[in-house]
C-alpha cells in the first residue's frame, strides 16, 4: 500500500494505492491520526485501491466517527469490487461516496 497525502488549509486528501489489509491498515490509521487534528474536510481517493479487508473498513469507520464531530468526509473514485463490499456492510449508508 502507498499513501499520498495532500493538505490544503483544512482540507486533507489521502490518495491510497494498493492493498488495504490487516498488514497495511495500521499504516493508514497512523497517517490519518497524525494529520486529522483541525481537518474540516477529509477525502480518500480510492482510485488505485485494489483490495480492502475488514481491517481497512475499520479505519474508514473510525475516521468517519471522528469527522462526524469536526467536519465532512468523502470517498472518491471507488471501483465496483470495493463498492460491493461497502454495500454488503452497509457502509454505503454511513459513508459519503462520490
Amino acid at each position: 500500500m502507498k499513501i499520498n497525502k495532500n493538505k490544503n488549509g483544512t482540507k486533507l486528501t489521502f490518495e491510497i494505492a494498493g492493498r488495504v489489509d490487516t498488514s497495511t491498515a495500521p499504516q493508514l490509521e497512523s497517517a490519518i491520526k497524525e494529520e486529522i487534528s483541525g481537518v474540516k474536510e477529509l477525502v480518500f481517493d480510492m482510485d488505485k485501491v485494489e483490495y480492502i479487508s475488514s481491517a481497512g473498513l475499520r479505519v474508514l469507520l473510525s475516521s468517519q466517527k471522528t469527522m462526524n464531530n469536526q467536519g465532512t468526509m468523502k470517498l472518491i473514485n471507488v471501483n465496483d469490487e470495493i463498492m460491493e463490499i461497502f454495500e454488503v456492510t452497509g457502509f454505503t449508508d454511513i459513508l459519503t461516496i462520490e
Binding site: D21, T22, Y51, S62, T89, I94
Partner: protein
C-alpha cells in the same frame, strides 16, 4: 483443467499473511476468475487466517493448516482451515447490524460477516481436537 489439492502448514501469525495469500493465488493461477470472485476469496481467507492468528492460541503461536481444492465439475474452490487452538465457532457470533449509523456502529465485527456473505458455503466443526472451518465458492 488440472484439479488442484494443495496444503500449507504454517505458524498462525499475522506476519505470515502474505505467504497465505501467495499460496491461494498460486492455487488459482490457471483459472480465469473475475476480479470480484478473486476479491471475495482473498478477503475471506484473510479474515479467517487473521482470526486464527489472533484468537486460536493464547500463549504461544500454534500451527494452522490450510487445504485448498479446486475442482472443475462443479467449478469451485473449497478451502479448509484447521487449528488446534481453543474451540471457537466464529459462525455462532451474532451478525453485526449493518443498518446502524456511523455513530452507533461498533468498530469491528465485520470480518466473519463478510465471509458469510462472500462465500457460497461456510461450515464450522470441532473435530479431533481441531477447529475446522470450511469455505466454498463456485468459480
Amino acid at each position: 483443467m488440472a484439479e488442484i489439492n494443495n496444503s500449507l502448514v504454517l505458524d498462525a501469525a499475522t506476519d505470515n499473511l502474505q505467504q497465505v495469500m501467495s499460496f491461494i493465488e498460486d492455487c488459482l493461477k490457471d483459472r480465469d476468475i473475475s476480479p470480484k470472485t478473486e476479491m471475495h476469496i482473498n478477503m475471506s481467507v484473510e479474515e479467517i487466517f487473521v482470526n486464527i492468528a489472533h484468537y486460536a492460541y493464547t500463549e504461544k503461536t500454534g500451527k494452522a493448516t490450510i487445504n485448498v481444492s479446486v475442482t472443475d465439475d462443479p467449478a469451485a474452490i473449497t478451502i479448509i482451515f484447521k487449528d488446534s487452538g481453543i474451540p471457537y465457532d466464529p459462525l455462532a457470533k451474532k451478525d453485526p447490524d449493518v443498518t446502524l449509523s456511523a455513530k452507533e456502529r461498533k468498530i469491528g465485527g465485520l470480518g466473519i460477516y463478510l465471509v458469510k456473505k462472500m462465500m457460497d458455503e461456510v461450515v464450522y466443526k470441532y473435530e479431533n481436537g481441531q477447529n475446522v472451518l470450511i469455505i466454498k465458492k463456485h468459480l
